[in-house]
Amino acid sequence: MVEQDGGGLKRIGTGEPRLDRIMNGGFPSNSLNIVMGPPGTGKTILVQQILFQNVGEDRPVIYLSTLSEPIAKVVTYLQQFGFYDESKMMDRVIYEDVGAALLEDGSAALLDRIRELIRTREPTILVVDSYKAIHDLARDEFEMRQLSAQLGRLVSAYDVTTFLVGEYGETAVSRYPEFAVADGIVQMIREPADNRENRHLRVLKLRGSNYLQGSHAFSISHDGIHVYPRLVTPLAPERYGSSGEKLSTGVEGLDALLQGGAWRGTSTIVLGPSGAGKTTLGLLFAIQGARTRQRSLYLNFQENPRQLQKTADSLDPALDEHLDRTLFFLYRSPVEMQIDAVVVELFEMVDSQNIERVVIDALGDLELAAASRERFHDYLYSVVQHLAARGVTSFLLLEGHEDLEYANRYQDRRFSTLSDAIIALGYAGANGPNPVRTLRVVKARNTAHALARQQMDIHHDGVRLSKLETP
């Protein structure tokens, strides 16, 4: 008895592991899929990335160009990408223009050619780009319906996974017959945001498979498509506050105010105006982690990394011993930053390096990179929950008025509800001859903290708190 059974679906990887994860492993093998979206969203790049990712030894993959872009142009641009492999062209990756045959013999020419290719070349993957353009050739809707139904039968008859690419708008999904025969639909979108553009993709349908719903940001680089899965808030952070362990903040006086430090797995917002000492507190928190073998990550968007390291050096002469062992710096330029990309990168680092402490310097930069303030709050909430679920303790630095009520009311910021603790930094006697820095614990869940403002002095080797003498 020869058995080649197995009920599970085989998958076709996209060449982007994060997109595969969104699709529960990739496109099901032997499926018929539609990649849709306006011009210039990256549809052709995605399908070509899939082609090159899945080139096998025995059977080729085939790209059929219809009536949109000539093969010469497609292939010219293709060669810019890192996934392109010249050695696979022609024998194993076949590009063919069927536009002329379509113009001469009508839409049925596509079926004839695909039937012929299945018999003679036995492709594992077949792309038709653009399938929507064939609508212009069809005499009426019935012809298109017939063509799509026949195409569906033909490609499901053989062991081939098919991608139909098209510049379809949202309304096409309920109108065009190809969507009825499709097993999978991926929509690619480009949205203007201020003076840049955000790209998103959505899986609209994936028969017989779970997938991560919603919009996922993506970018296009030399390597192809990079996808940043939407951050889904974990249902119940398992380790949230359960350790009952306090972690030193790296500032003795602050630990005393917090009755031992920050609870493990909690998030603390460090709020204050420019120059108030937020970065110093953040660095001390990270360094304290590194010193006690808790791997710490400092994510920074503003300060030149070399400058930041210099500041950290002065706070801990043994910094070199910790660097890239227990202390990690991650710098990302705020220019052209995508919040989704940064958040994905942050959690990949947290997971791969077993990070226990995180400092984000600063939330304002992330806020600017978000499409909207509302969206940013959702993000921040998810980030905080994910950190908690992993038992990661964080300091989130936030530039703003030290008076949280003022910040909430006049700056429309509602960060206070997102964190477990809030430390407000500021100045006392700012207009007098001897202004001093101040620190106040505004909120600390499950801690009977003192409310009084403290004087905060920054020294070359750390921060000291003392009773504030001036009002």
């Binding site: 008895m1 020869v2 080649q4 197995g6 062991d159």
Partner: protein, 134 residues
């Protein structure tokens, strides 16, 4: 002849399949591999043809009209006059266990891929020859 596929002589294969696109592809690949191919698009017709053409191998989908693939398989295997005919159940259904219970000699899951189909048929023919020789 495609590389890796050995010549198969003129063994007669009866393909039981009601989906024309699949049937045409099966016919094309099997003929190209050197087999003689006959069709039936439902189970009853297939059973009649088994009596008249005496095929070496019956390749049947399970989901065919009138008499399903399992019933066809049982009917063939239950009739001593067809003892030589091998049955390959070739289906979209992951039903290897039920095919085996019905007496099938082999099970292959769709979708159709030329090499897997030809190799499965060749294997059955080899087993038949070895049975006859032994």
């Amino acid at each position: 002849m495609s590389p890796g596929v050995e010549p198969a002589g003129r063994a007669v294969i009866l393909v039981v399949e009601d989906e024309p696109e699949i049937r045409e592809l099966e016919k094309y690949f099997l003929e190209r591999a050197g087999f003689e191919v006959q069709f039936a698009d439902d189970g009853e017709l297939a059973l009649e043809m088994v009596n008249t053409i005496n095929p070496d191998v019956v390749v049947t989908e399970l989901l065919v009209p009138k008499l399903d693939g399992l019933a066809l398989c049982r009917a063939i295997k239950g009739d001593e006059s067809h003892a030589d005919a091998a049955v390959l159940v070739f289906s979209f259904l992951a039903a290897a266990g039920r095919a085996k219970e019905a007496g099938a000699d082999a099970f292959l899951r769709k979708p159709l891929a030329r090499r897997a189909l030809i190799e499965a048929v060749q294997r059955l023919l080899r087993q038949q020859r070895e049975g006859e020789d032994g």
